[in-house]
C-alpha cells in the first residue's frame, strides 16, 4: 500500500527538450533511504512513519537532491563532483533513468546511457560475443545495432580469437574494458560516466563522444580538467557552481576537507553570471574564507587548443598547439606593473617544460580587466602521456596568482619528425631536433 501511495506521489518527467540544454533539473528533489540504517525488522515501521511524515527527509533518509537546479548544455563535457559517495551513485541512477525523483522535474534531450566497466548480467559461462550481445540488448539496442556494436568492440580490442571463449577464461580487466566501450558506443545522446577513466583507446573514445553530451559524475578531483567544459559540485542536495575549473576543484577540496567554500572574493558568495557559463546562480550564506594570496590578477581558466585553435584534450606529438590562459582583474581600475606569464608542464611533480615569458623577454603592460594570454608551441615535443600544468601570473617581485592542475591534458602519438609512421617507438620524455651524418674525411 505504501508503495502504491509513493508511486502516486512521485512526479518525474523525462521528455524531449526544445532548448539547447541536454539535461535540466528543475526544483528536483530526491530523498533516499540510507540503506544500511534501514533494517528489515523495522522496515514496516519506518515506512509507516515516513508515510505519516510525508516526503520530507527524515532520520532514515538523506537528500540526494533538495530543490536543486541545474542546466547542462548540449554537446558539452560536464563534470559533477559529489561530496558524498551515496549521492554520486544516486545521481548516476537518476540521470540514467533508473530511478525517479521524489519531486520536481528532470528533462533530458534524448536518450541517456550510463557508461561503466561493470556489467550486472555477466555470467561466467557466457561466451564473450554472447555477453556483449546481451549487454547491448539490455541497454536497448536493436538486433542489427547490437551485432554491429559487438563487432566494433571486438575489432577495437583485436579479440576475434576470444569471441567464443567463456568469460571465466578471459581476464576480468579485458572484459571490464570491453563493457566500457560497448556502452560508450551506444547511440545514446547523453552519456553518463560514473567515474573518469584513463582509457586505452583515446581516438576511439574521442570519436564516440562527437556530437554527444558527456556528464562525468565523480567523487574525487583528480582527473584531466582540460577534458571538461564546465562543472558543478553537488553538496547536500544542491548544485553549487563556479565559473572556472580551478575554483571548482578548489571549492570541492575545501568542501570535502574543511566543509567551507572558498570565496571568489572577500564579499558574500555570489557566482557571477557569465555568458559562457550555465545560467544558474546560487548564493550561499556561509562566511567567506580568506585566501592566502591577495589577488590583483586572477587566473580563471586554462584551455588547451589544437593547431586550429579549437579546444582539445589531446595533442599529438609534433603538432602545434596553444595554451590559452584566461584572467581577470577583480578590482579594476588598478594600475599594474608589467606582468609576466608562466606555464610549466610537468608529469607528477617533476617539471618538464618551462614556458616562461621572462625567458624570451616578453612582458605585458597595461593589460585590460579581462583577457587571455596565449602560449603557442610550434611543435609539441612531449611523448605520449598525461601531463599537468602550473600556470602563474607574476611581476618581477611577486607571484600574483598561481594555479596548478594535475593530469590536465594528454599527448598522444604523432609525427614529430614528419617522416611518417615508424615501427620503432621513441622512449623518454621529449623529442628533439637532431641529425646524423657520416664523416668521410676522417682516416683511421
Amino acid at each position: 500500500m505504501w508503495i502504491c501511495w509513493n508511486v502516486f506521489l512521485t512526479c518525474s518527467r523525462i521528455g524531449g527538450l526544445t532548448l539547447s540544454f541536454a539535461v535540466e533539473f528543475e526544483n528536483a528533489s530526491k530523498f533516499q533511504f540510507n540503506r544500511f540504517e534501514l533494517g528489515r525488522k523495522l522496515g514496516f515501521l519506518s515506512l509507516f512513519r515516513r508515510s505519516i511524515a510525508g516526503n520530507s527527509a527524515s532520520i532514515d533518509q538523506f537528500a540526494v537532491l533538495d530543490n536543486a537546479q541545474l542546466q547542462i548544455p548540449s554537446q558539452s563535457h560536464f563534470v559533477i563532483l559529489c561530496t558524498q559517495r551515496d549521492a554520486q551513485v544516486a545521481l548516476t541512477r537518476i540521470l540514467g533513468g533508473l530511478t525517479f525523483l521524489t519531486s520536481g522535474a528532470l528533462r533530458v534531450a534524448g536518450v541517456t546511457q550510463i557508461v561503466s566497466t561493470k556489467a550486472r548480467m555477466q555470467r561466467p559461462l557466457l561466451s564473450l560475443r554472447r555477453h556483449l550481445n546481451s549487454l547491448n540488448t539490455f541497454i536497448g539496442l536493436t538486433r542489427s545495432q547490437s551485432q554491429r556494436n559487438t563487432q566494433e568492440v571486438i575489432e577495437l580490442f583485436k579479440a576475434q580469437e576470444l569471441e567464443n571463449e567463456k568469460l571465466v577464461d578471459i581476464a576480468p580487466e579485458l572484459i571490464a574494458k570491453m563493457n566500457y566501450f560497448t556502452t560508450l558506443f551506444s547511440p545514446a545522446e547523453v552519456l553518463i560516466f560514473d567515474d573518469v577513466y584513463i582509457h586505452d583507446f583515446p581516438e576511439a573514445h574521442q570519436k564516440a563522444l562527437v556530437g554527444k553530451t558527456a556528464i562525468y559524475i565523480a567523487c574525487r578531483a583528480k582527473f584531466p580538467t582540460a577534458v571538461f567544459d564546465q562543472g558543478s559540485i553537488l553538496h547536500e542536495g544542491k548544485f553549487l557552481q563556479t565559473s572556472s575549473f580551478p575554483r571548482l576543484i578548489e571549492n570541492f577540496e575545501n568542501l570535502t576537507t574543511l566543509d567551507q567554500v572558498v570565496a571568489a572574493s572577500e564579499q558574500s558568495l555570489s557566482f557571477e553570471e557569465n555568458e559562457d557559463d550555465v545560467l544558474i546562480e546560487e548564493e550561499l550564506s556561509r562566511p567567506p574564507v580568506q585566501r592566502v594570496l591577495p589577488r590583483s590578477v586572477s587566473v580563471l581558466s586554462l584551455a588547451v587548443l589544437d593547431a586550429d585553435k579549437k579546444p582539445a584534450n589531446q595533442i599529438r606529438t609534433g603538432d602545434s598547439c596553444f595554451f590559452s590562459v584566461s584572467y581577470e582583474i577583480p578590482n579594476p581600475p588598478q594600475v599594474l606593473p608589467e606582468v609576466f606569464v608562466a606555464v610549466g608542464i610537468r608529469t607528477g611533480t617533476k617539471p618538464l617544460i618551462a614556458a616562461w615569458s621572462e625567458l624570451i623577454d616578453r612582458s605585458f603592460s597595461d593589460i585590460p580587466p579581462k583577457g587571455q594570454f596565449t602560449l603557442s608551441i610550434p611543435r609539441m615535443p612531449l611523448l605520449p602521456g598525461i601531463y599537468g600544468i602550473n600556470c602563474s601570473v607574476r611581476t618581477k617581485e611577486q607571484v600574483l596568482d598561481k594555479i596548478c592542475w594535475d593530469e590536465c591534458f594528454e599527448v598522444v602519438e604523432g609525427d614529430f619528425y614528419r617522416t611518417g609512421p615508424k615501427e620503432v617507438v621513441p622512449v623518454g620524455v621529449f623529442c628533439i631536433d637532431f641529425d646524423w651524418k657520416l664523416d668521410q674525411t676522417h682516416e683511421a
Binding site: I3, T10, Q32, F33, T99, R120, M121, R123, S134, T142
Partner: protein, 265 residues
C-alpha cells in the same frame, strides 16, 4: 518515445529479446551444479504428477460419466495448470533473480514477462508429449478440436502474469511474498478442478464455480479429451476478468518497480 505502432512493436521486440537473454542466462545458471543438468526440466513435471495420480486414482476423482482414463484426465489438467502456475512463479523468480539487472539497466517492462513466457513455453513443450504417450498407452483418442486448446494457453499464462506482476515490487522488499506464495498455489490448486471433476453441489461446487481458473482448465481439457466446448459464457467472462486483472497488474508493476528497487538492501 512517441506512442506509435512502430515504436510499440520495437518495444515489444526489444522486451522479448531482453527476456530471452534473461531466460538463457538463468537457465544455464540454474542447472550448473547438478548431475542431471537440463534433464531436470523434464524430470520435474513427471515427478510432480505421480503422487497426485496415485491418490486421485485411489479416491476415484475422475468423472463417473467419462470414459477417459484418470491418468490421462489428470495429466492433461496438470499440464494446463502448470502453464498458469509456472507463469506466476517464474515471473516472481525472474523479478527476484534479475533485480540487479533491472536496477542497473532500463529494461523494457515486458522483459520479465517474456523471460517467464519462454520458460512456460519450454516446460509445456517438454511435458505435453506425455499426454500423447498416455493417450497411446491407454488407447484413448484425442480429438482434433483439442488443437483449439492451444489458444487457451496464452490466456492461462496471462492469468499467471496478472497474479504475480503486482507482487514483484513487493517481493523485492519483503521476502514474505516468496515464502507465502507456495501456500497460495496450494489453495488455488485445490479450489480449481484440476485433478478432480467439478462437483455438482456442495461448497466446493460454488468455489469452483466462482473461480475463473476453473474454466480455463476445464475448457481446454474437454476440448482435447472429449471434443466439446463446455461453459462458453463462463469461459469468456473468465478471459475478460483475466485481461482486466493483467492490465491492472502490469500498470502497477510499471509504476512501482523503480520505486521498489530504491529500497533494495
Amino acid at each position: 518515445m512517441k506512442p506509435s505502432f512502430k515504436n510499440i512493436f520495437t518495444m515489444l521486440t526489444l522486451g522479448f529479446r531482453q527476456g530471452w537473454f534473461l531466460f538463457l542466462n538463468e537457465f544455464q545458471q540454474r542447472y550448473r551444479m547438478t548431475f542431471l543438468g537440463y534433464w531436470w526440466s523434464v524430470v520435474k513435471p513427471i515427478a510432480a504428477c505421480l503422487p497426485l495420480l496415485f491418490v486421485g486414482k485411489h479416491f476415484e476423482f475422475n468423472p463417473s460419466d467419462d470414459q477417459t482414463p484418470y491418468e490421462l484426465f489428470a495429466v492433461t489438467s496438470l499440464i494446463f495448470w502448470n502453464v498458469f502456475w509456472t507463469a506466476a512463479t517464474q515471473t516472481l523468480y525472474f523479478g527476484r533473480r534479475c533485480r540487479k539487472v533491472i536496477s542497473e539497466y532500463r529494461l523494457s517492462d515486458t522483459a520479465i514477462i517474456s523471460a517467464a513466457a519462454i520458460q512456460v513455453s519450454m516446460e509445456f513443450a517438454m511435458s505435453f508429449p506425455f499426454v500423447l504417450v498416455l493417450a497411446y498407452l491407454f488407447d484413448s483418442p484425442l480429438h482434433a478440436q483439442g488443437f483449439f486448446s492451444l489458444g487457451v494457453l496464452p490466456i492461462l499464462a496471462i492469468a499467471g502474469f496478472g497474479l504475480a506482476l503486482p507482487l514483484v515490487p513487493f517481493s523485492l522488499i519483503y521476502h514474505d511474498i516468496h515464502y507465502g506464495f507456495g501456500f497460495l498455489g496450494q489453495a488455488l490448486f485445490w479450489t480449481a478442478p484440476v485433478v478432480y471433476a467439478m462437483p455438482t453441489n456442495g461448497p466446493l461446487y460454488y468455489i469452483n464455480f466462482f473461480n475463473p481458473i476453473s474454466y480455463l482448465i476445464i475448457v481446454p481439457r474437454t476440448l482435447l479429451l472429449l471434443g466439446n466446448f463446455t461453459h462458453p459464457n463462463f469461459f469468456l467472462v473468465s478471459c475478460a476478468a483475466v485481461l482486466i486483472v493483467f492490465s491492472a497488474g502490469f500498470l502497477f508493476f510499471h509504476r512501482s518497480i523503480r520505486t521498489a528497487l530504491d529500497y533494495q538492501l
